[in-house]
């Protein structure tokens, strides 16, 4: 698994390439937790190269969603995932807490703060 992180206009975007399984998920969990503890509140996860996810991977996302729900103006949006990856989120009922955008552009739009 490879994780690419970049922050632009107060949105922190992660791209996950490879597999999020019981062996590899901890590394992503640590990375995401560290980023949120350092103050990131608007998080986009590009899943276009996420080939596989199991319950261990789901756990990382629900943990992040819980953390961001408690934080002020926190939000996480996932984008561009394969249908069979999306199905895993749906079976778990996580798609009702974590928005899944069809494209990353759409994901960024959803994360924009309302104009003041």
């Amino acid at each position: 698994m490879e994780i690419i992180e970049n922050t632009e206009n107060d949105i922190t975007a992660f791209k996950i390439a490879g597999r999020l399984d019981s062996k590899t998920s901890d590394a992503f969990d640590r990375r995401l937790s560290e980023t949120m503890e350092n103050g990131a509140r608007r998080i986009l996860v590009d899943c276009s190269e996420l080939a596989y996810i199991s319950s261990a991977g789901l756990r990382v996302f629900i943990k992040a969603a819980k953390y961001l729900q408690r934080a002020e103006e926190g939000a996480i949006v996932l984008c561009a995932m394969e249908d069979y990856v999306r199905e895993v989120f749906e079976i778990a009922g996580f798609d009702s807490f974590i928005p899944i955008a069809r494209t990353c552009e759409e994901g960024r739009e959803r994360l924009k703060r309302p104009e003041e």
Binding site: S55, R59, I62, Y84, I91, A92, G93, S96
Partner: protein, 141 residues
């Protein structure tokens, strides 16, 4: 002439999560020879990982190395997996599914594994025989 399609693969893994990569490799080779689609491979991989991870995480209280046996077979359009371990008795079918419709704040972070297994496979059977857990899972493709 009508010929039946039959394939069998057996292998053993140690009770260590680092073996997951080996499990995936065996499954990918099996899927390739059986001509399975990426979607089917994904679901089979998910079911096998969740079962193996449960065995490794909760099956043993000692520090010894244990062996988990895998037997994968295909007969025509039926894929059957048999997983045998000598860990503590555990019937995955006896576990209540987690609440998947409660609000986020009350939602458990874990516990989805066996729900995913039941979704990915068409049939799951458990037996405890002579100190062994034997799980048989079938999927019709």
């Amino acid at each position: 002439m009508f010929r039946k399609k039959k394939k069998r693969v057996s292998f053993q893994l140690k009770n260590d999560l680092s073996e997951l990569a080996v499990l995936t490799r065996h499954l990918e080779m099996f899927a390739e020879s059986a001509g399975l689609s990426r979607e089917v491979l994904f679901r089979l991989n998910l079911a096998l990982e969740e079962i193996f991870t449960n065995i490794v995480s909760y099956g043993y209280t000692d520090e010894a190395v244990h062996t988990v046996d895998f037997h994968l077979s295909q007969e025509d359009n039926a894929i059957t997996f048999r997983i045998t371990d000598d860990g503590a008795p555990f019937n995955p079918l006896s576990v209540d599914p987690p609440d998947t419709v409660c609000p986020l704040s009350q939602r458990q972070t874990g516990g989805m594994g066996l729900t995913l297994v039941k979704h990915c496979m068409d049939d799951v059977q458990y037996r405890r025989v002579g100190g062994l857990n034997i799980l048989t899972m079938t999927k019709t493709i």
